[in-house]
């Protein structure tokens, strides 16, 4: 899921577990996944399925994955994938960890890690998890920085060049120290890119289902595409924020969960699973922060987001903020997608101009 593999890889490496990284998600991954997945399931399932198969090709014998127990299908992924793999006569073991939204869950998570690496004691495991979380934060910061710099860079493509290099190199490093150094190194590189501070930017917020937001292969690199079009992109969900939301029962972890739920209240009172309430809440927050537009991403047949999709048109009207919904699946064509993005951006530009003119008129 996007860059989430980096901290997980670091955690496992620190624990002396051999990590086989499946190659970056690609068309081949998706095709492998589609072949053996049920047709009506969402794209994330298909991609993960493909990842597992490619991992097996590269010699993996155990799959480590998080699960959750909620109304969304995510919690049942591993069971179904297990069935499918069994039918394919492949031998692979699943180590699953339930989400860790309470102490017991956290304990189980470390117990699972211990199962995979019996040599380590709990103290080391806890320490390693902490290190992993640090990496997670650092990676997200780097990405945010990349997104901030991209639209205002003077030499187009410079940031993207660094971004691509980073994702190649991070796969080669081993362990916490090397990974952290690399991230810091790249942070410096990205911030030293020449920028044009005077450039006027449109601000677009991305809301929606977490997997489609975080995985650039599924959302066809939406952040990059918008950045190139000269747009300041903010994404509502990041992996680190997600983990923080899960962990915020601990007194020293703070997440924006409460603010988001509060903001969503006029339209959706209670969480209904998945990220529907985050979608609504974040849309409201973006409106308050005077964003120019919102893009809503969801995988086809995603259950919680359909509810959000029902509500968004009302928000669009009542709060006066343009929202575009993009449904993504394996049939999404890049050209059509690009056209819609460009059209949306054009409309936003026009809208901003009109607004500015209107303002100046009223001053006369």
């Amino acid at each position: 899921m996007g860059t989430t593999y980096i901290p997980v890889k670091t955690i496992l490496e620190e624990l002396d577990i051999d990590v086989v990284l499946p190659p970056m998600s690609s068309k081949k991954t998706l095709e492998l996944g589609i072949k053996c997945s049920p047709e009506a399931i969402c794209v994330p399932f298909k991609i993960i399925m493909g990842n597992i198969l490619e991992g097996i090709e590269n010699g993996a014998d155990t799959v480590f994955m998080l699960t959750g127990c909620g109304p969304c299908r995510f919690g049942i992924f591993h069971a179904l994938q297990n069935e499918i793999i069994r039918d394919m006569n492949l031998k692979i073991e699943f180590i699953t960890a339930d989400r860790f939204s309470n102490l017991a869950g956290l304990k189980e998570f470390s117990a699972r890690l211990k199962e995979a690496s019996p040599k380590n004691n709990y103290l080391k495991i806890f320490n390693t998890i902490r290190k992993g979380l640090k990496i997670l934060d650092a990676v997200d910061e780097l990405q945010e920085l990349t997104n901030k710099i991209r639209p205002i860079e003077i030499n187009t493509g410079e940031v993207d060049y660094l971004d691509t290099n980073f994702s190649h190199e991070i796969r080669k490093v081993h362990g916490y120290d090397e990974a952290m150094n690399l991230i810091i190194d790249y942070k410096e590189k990205v911030s030293s890119v020449k920028i044009d501070k005077t450039k006027q930017l449109l601000k677009i917020g991305i809301v929606g289902e977490i997997y489609t937001i975080l995985e650039p292969f599924i959302n066809l690199n939406i952040e990059k595409k918008l950045g190139v079009l000269g747009i300041d992109v903010a994404r509502s969900i990041s992996a680190s924020e997600y983990v923080r939301e899960q962990l915020d029962f601990l007194p020293f972890v703070h997440s924006g969960k409460k603010t988001i739920y509060q903001a969503a209240k006029p339209y959706l009172e209670i969480p209904i699973g998945g990220h529907a309430i985050n979608t609504i809440g974040n849309s409201m927050l973006y409106k308050k922060q005077n964003f120019d537009g919102i893009i809503h991403l969801l995988p086809f047949t995603c259950m919680p987001e359909i509810v959000a999709q029902c509500i968004l048109p009302t928000i669009e009207k009542e709060q006066d903020i343009p929202i575009m919904t993009l449904v993504l699946d394996e049939m999404t064509g890049e050209a059509g997608y690009m056209t819609r993005l460009e059209a949306f951006v054009d409309l936003l530009v026009k809208r901003k101009d009109l607004k500015n003119e209107g303002n100046s008129l009223s001053w006369n």
Binding site: A40, G70, P71, G75, I76, A79, L80, I84, P304, V327
Partner: protein
Amino acid sequence: MTIKVGIPRALLFYEYAPLWISFFNDVGAEVIVSDKSNKRILNNGTIYTVEDACIPVKLYNGHVLYLKDKVDYLFIPRIMGVYEKEYICPKFCGLPEVVKYSIKDLPKLINTKIDLTKSSNMKDAILNMGSYITTDKKRIISAYEKALIKYNEHKSSMKNTYINEQNEQIMIMGHPYILYDEYLNMNVIKKLKSYGYSCITPDNLDDDLVNEYANSYPGKIFWLFFRKMLGSCLYLIENNFFDGVIYISSFGCGIDSVVAETIERRLRRETNIPFMLMTIDEHSGEAGFNTRLEAFIDMLEWRKINENNISTHGNNLYSRENNIRGVRY
């Protein structure tokens, strides 16, 4: 003048109809249930709902539209889950929102939150539901108790349909709002009966038995429907009473995509019971549906006649007894 409460005849109405109707009648409201689904209701619903929603939700909106101007209150409960740690589809949790933001000028909603996933305390929800109609708490509670008895009677009456080994039987699986909505499933139960097969639905099986079987599944089960379907499927695998399984799913249903796949894989791996998955949406034509159904039945019939004679052991190769893989020659 009595207060009119409208209940759309869709989604969980098919599961809880006796409970809801009797409850609202007893607290002193007049209950109006929308007409049986028909083309007009579905078309109206389709127009007002986002495209990506599944057909039962669209149909639900159609029923709401039908009731809209006829009632004072619309009963659209927000059902999070009815058993501990078991949820149902997120669309049910957000149902009041789905309706509210799709259709304008609605009457007042009774959108009580029914959440039994964390504790099984029903009282607050009941009082809240009744408070729209009357302030008399005792009356609300007694109405609920009466309604519950009726509901349980209805449930156990469904279990009475006997499952016997002699009958030609087909198991029909799917959500109750598809299985019992004759318009949505194009009268599949009646059609199968006309071919001489009797239909068993997962509701006809004993709940405890189903749960017992479902518990042997390795993954955590957190959907009510999943538990029911899976339990029935595992029951099927062990007990050889069925000639075939038909799973009716609605296009885009998130839960069905997991459940149907799991069941199909289990059945294919462990038995020889024929399985057919039918997906319906608002474009489904009845003729195509019939053709597939007839083909399925033909196949079942041919199996009995033709494939029986192949065995050299004097044992029928594909009789019902041999549906279980282990027994198969």
